[in-house]
Symmetry: C2
Subunit: 353 residues, 2 copies
């Protein structure tokens, strides 16, 4: 049997209440008693039973991370794990536990969260965008259960969320290129309907307008985000009457196709044409040249989400609604000649499990 508070009490010749008070730093226990009891606790290798403690305190010290989880999801979304790491990091510091709650289908998310709330199996919930539904947000609001969504929902809601600022991402990309001296900048690769793409594009255009730089219609090329498609789009761009001297790509894959086209035209990067893209995936680290990227700092986003959530748990009155994080620029050789590049050294994937 494990050592309990009673064992410590008996051994220290005090009552269980006193031991409890020592553990909880009650002011009514004088220094010498504290020391004595702590000594006994140490000697008996006493660890308080967390279950008993949480049970009586009516807390769980646990945060649920609700997300869609499927085999090979790391392929479909390498961001998710980084977010998770950020959340875990902050929770661990405050002695909170993080538990993963996976759903397979959006239709499960409602029931899953209902159960968490009803059974009080967590003190708070982080809901990943992949598990967000309208019903779910309503439930979270009505139940007043501490929560935060990762990713702004695509509908109006009073729910609490955190997301990155795509408009600013577009601005950052544009500003960087302008600072490097490029003026004829093209934008490559999303579909007109895609909100994220549109926001980035608008951010880009706002900077161009601000600087008084012209963006001809043909400099904005829509398409899907496959590398084949972007290869074709880039060929088109390079055939324009006025050739762009820089291109912003919607993501790594798009950039990959674009670079292939640029190589085929025997153009030098960044001298003849510079390239910048959004997001930073492992792929970018083996591309030649390594592309400058505007990255969502997803790890930081996870940390912020956790911080906000904990604050809300501590202070339920708090009415934080939404939060936006700033993207970060990683300058690499596709916009700066080698040598001047301040590239973060890439780690290559470990082959072991």
């Amino acid at each position: 049997m494990a050592v309990t508070i009673k064992d410590v009490a008996r051994e220290a010749n005090v009552s269980p209440s006193t031991v409890s008070k020592v553990m909880n730093h009650s002011p009514s226990i004088p220094e010498r008693t504290v020391k004595h009891v702590q000594e006994v606790m140490e000697r008996l290798h006493y660890f308080p039973n967390l279950q008993a403690r949480n049970f009586v305190r009516k807390t769980t010290r646990n945060i649920a991370f609700v997300t869609r989880l499927e085999p090979h999801i790391a392929f479909a979304n390498p961001h998710m794990f980084d977010i998770l790491c950020g959340v875990q990091e902050v929770l661990a510091r405050k002695d909170y536990n993080l538990s993963i709650v996976g759903i397979h289908d959006l239709s499960e998310s409602m029931a899953t969260v209902e159960r968490i709330i009803a059974q009080k199996s967590a003190d708070g919930i982080v809901v990943h965008g992949s598990a967000t539904t309208r019903d779910l947000t309503n439930l979270l609001i009505e139940s007043k259960f501490p929560h935060i969504l990762i990713g702004k929902p695509n509908f109006e809601s009073q729910v609490c969320w955190i997301d990155t600022n795509n408009f600013i991402s577009g601005q950052i990309a544009a500003r960087h290129l302008c600072e490097c001296g490029f003026k004829k900048i093209a934008f490559l690769g999303g579909t007109r309907e895609d909100k994220i793409f549109t926001q980035r594009l608008n951010g880009f255009l706002s900077v161009m307008a601000e600087k008084g730089l012209n963006v001809p219609d043909e400099f904005i090329q829509y398409g899907d985000t496959s590398s084949e498609c972007s290869f074709g789009l880039m060929n088109k761009l390079l055939a324009c009457s006025v050739r762009p001297d820089a291109v912003i790509c919607e993501d790594n894959t798009v950039a990959f196709g674009a670079i292939r086209s640029i190589h085929q035209h025997s153009l030098k990067m960044p001298e003849d044409i510079a390239l910048i893209c959004f997001d930073n995936y492992p792929l970018s680290e083996i591309m030649d040249p390594m592309p400058t990227v505007v990255d969502i700092n997803v790890n930081d986003m996870g940390m912020q989400a956790a911080t906000l959530l904990l604050r809300k748990i501590k202070n339920p009155e708090l009415q934080v609604q939404t939060f936006t994080t700033l993207p970060v620029l990683k300058i690499r050789s596709s916009t700066r000649p080698c040598g001047t590049a301040s590239a973060a050294p890439g780690k290559k994937p470990a082959k072991n499990i």
Copy 2:
């Protein structure tokens, strides 16, 4: 206040014991009482307090997943999250909770696990290779705490682990190439000291010996696993007096460099030269041609790990030591002409978070 067992008992005109017995399917409760009580539970929206239940039952229904966790770890190891998904999947089915316990440094793993065991904050532990130390395995063995390591430790130990079979990976790669009719097969990209590389190489060689096929020394090229290095190695291979008609690459990055070299030599794949590599990373899905891979089914490995662990928790007498999973072959166009390929359709990374 939440509804408790007493509220249900009062409303149903029975005692709390009866309600408890209904929940636990005790045989001494007749059908009509069961129905009546269940009806009341439903009506009152009663959910048993899990903390109270686990407390008295002396279980946690929680499994700790101990691993090194750092920002951008998804970059360094895309496998980890897939393993996690597999573990979670199986645990959820059995109503177990999965909680992530991250460490930053190997030196923390011992203390971390000690605490989990002492505080009984989990019923079992999964330790990822990145957190495995000799001390830790000793602790797990001595404490008889239910556990399983992901990845065979690189030292002798009685600890319980699960891993993939690299020797068989090598065999699978070789067999597949032989079946496709290739006979002059080269092996590209690891360092002599790397155990995994050596095992794969030996698996390959064993098949070649079995088939009576010769492997000239120059067909085995050692190097680091960068794509630059493998580009050079592949150039060397293609300059051999007898040119190989197939090449096995140590990983995706190696394959990436090798393919670049093959393209530069204007060779057709797989007609002039076939290529196969180990592991399946997102990179492989945008390579041209898409490479056939021998993949560790890490998701399945996570599932098996969880299954074994749960079995051990249920039956502590069980003396399972080690477990090995079989790699899977994903045939794509680098070894089979298009059309005959049975490639799994690749999902491209989602750009949203």
